[in-house]
């Protein structure tokens, strides 16, 4: 007789093998059955069990008792309700992960909505603005609008013009420095609300070298600072201060004549 080698547990499981195959949900049971089914002994056992179970099904049930059984299954099948699914730890973990992923995607999408050519540079400059002390700048007490000539005459920076909205504010100091990409940045410190102004080259198309323009003022936030950026003649201008958008909004909303 063909008898496959089974471990003690597999032999025990094979002895309890389900009569109908619908009940082989258990992995270890399936494994034990697949090993055992090559043996004649197990095949005979299965035939024996099926015949006995079929005989049990033919046992007459008194009509009084039979009417209690409205369905075929004696064991109530637990239905998957929304409540159960929500309480399931695996479903809960997947749900939380999806919410987090969705949150990150929405955050990134919103961040991208505010992006414009030159925004990475502007963000770096906002970080500089939040860490700069006035003593680092050369003391200059004049109108911001007049510094365009200084930048041109002293540093050869063309079109580094302060927009008319900010031209009349008094300055405390200014400096010209190079960032890590050797772009020359002009920084001006104003007495007005300790505001800082930055002038830096606008982004250019990598292939054609054309200036990537954008219309109007664009806002961005970084480390408690807010910046309003505009582009003109290939040079970006940014006004930055500690605060919120509305603190800057009224400076840029009404251009001075």
């Amino acid at each position: 007789m063909n008898t496959p080698r089974l471990s003690r547990r597999q032999r025990a499981l094979a002895n309890c093998a389900p009569i109908t195959e619908e009940r082989t949900a258990d992995r270890s049971m399936r494994s034990a059955m697949s090993r055992a089914c090559s043996g004649n002994e197990f095949v005979a056992q299965q035939k024996f069990d099926r015949a006995l179970a079929a005989l049990v099904q033919t046992m007459p049930i008194p009509s009084e008792t039979a009417e209690w059984f409205s369905t075929k299954d004696l064991v109530p099948v637990s239905k998957w309700t929304w409540k159960k699914i929500v309480r399931n730890p695996a479903a809960l973990a997947i749900g939380i992960a999806l919410v987090v992923i969705a949150g990150v995607l929405v955050f990134q999408f919103i961040a991208r909505l505010n992006d414009f050519p030159g925004s990475p540079t502007a963000r770096k400059l906002l970080t500089i603005a939040s860490s700069t002390r006035p003593v680092l700048l050369d003391p200059v007490n004049t109108d911001a609008g007049t510094l365009s000539d200084l930048f041109f005459m002293k540093h050869g920076l063309e079109h580094y013009d302060v927009p008319v909205e900010f031209a009349d504010f008094k300055t405390i100091g200014c400096r010209v420095f190079e960032d890590e990409e050797s772009r020359r940045i002009a920084q001006i410190w104003l007495a007005e609300k300790r505001m800082q102004l930055f002038l830096f080259p606008a982004e250019r198309d990598a292939k054609t070298g054309a200036v990537l323009r954008f219309p109007g003022w664009r806002y961005l936030r970084q480390e408690g600072c807010v910046g309003a950026v505009a582009e003109h003649n290939g040079v970006c201008f940014m006004a930055a201060l500690h605060g919120r958008d509305k603190d800057l909004a009224h400076y840029v909303a009404k251009p001075k004549e």
Partner: protein, 138 residues
């Protein structure tokens, strides 16, 4: 579980009556098999008041491939009597297993057995039933 159909019906109705009362008071247990466990204990209590069969050394024979044809020609009432005369916990194991409504883990839970015990009881039951079939030349 019980050889006497009248007693079996009494147990059945008593179990359902109590279940209905517990349901009316909102005291139904959460676990799905409490009704079957309750019915089993009632059967065991009822069978204790019966005349107890003397422990009998039963013959055992290996299950044969033609056993199924022997079983097909058997009267189901005789099978019921054979199972109800088996000693506990073999009786519970055989009754629950051949009812074919529970998987082995549910039977372990209901009959409060270990896998090795259930396996031994079923294998023993098969061999004894085969010997009984052969001895009665069915």
């Amino acid at each position: 579980m019980l050889g006497d159909p009248v007693k079996a019906q009494e147990v059945f109705h008593a179990t359902l009556r109590e279940a209905a009362q517990r349901a009316a008071h909102g005291e139904l247990p959460e676990e799905p098999f409490w009704l079957f466990r309750d019915a089993r204990w009632r059967c065991l209590r009822a069978s204790q008041t019966d005349l107890q069969a003397e422990p009998l050394e039963m013959d055992e024979q290996e299950v044969t491939p033609d056993a199924s044809s022997q079983i097909e020609s058997l009267d189901p009432g005789r099978l019921a009597i054979w199972i109800s005369n088996a000693p506990e916990p073999q009786r519970s194991a055989l009754a629950l297993y051949y009812l074919d409504e529970f998987d082995y883990r549910e039977i372990l839970d209901l009959a409060e057995l270990k896998l090795s015990e259930l396996s031994r009881l079923l294998a023993l039951g098969r061999r004894q039933f085969q010997a009984w079939l052969n001895s009665h030349a069915i």
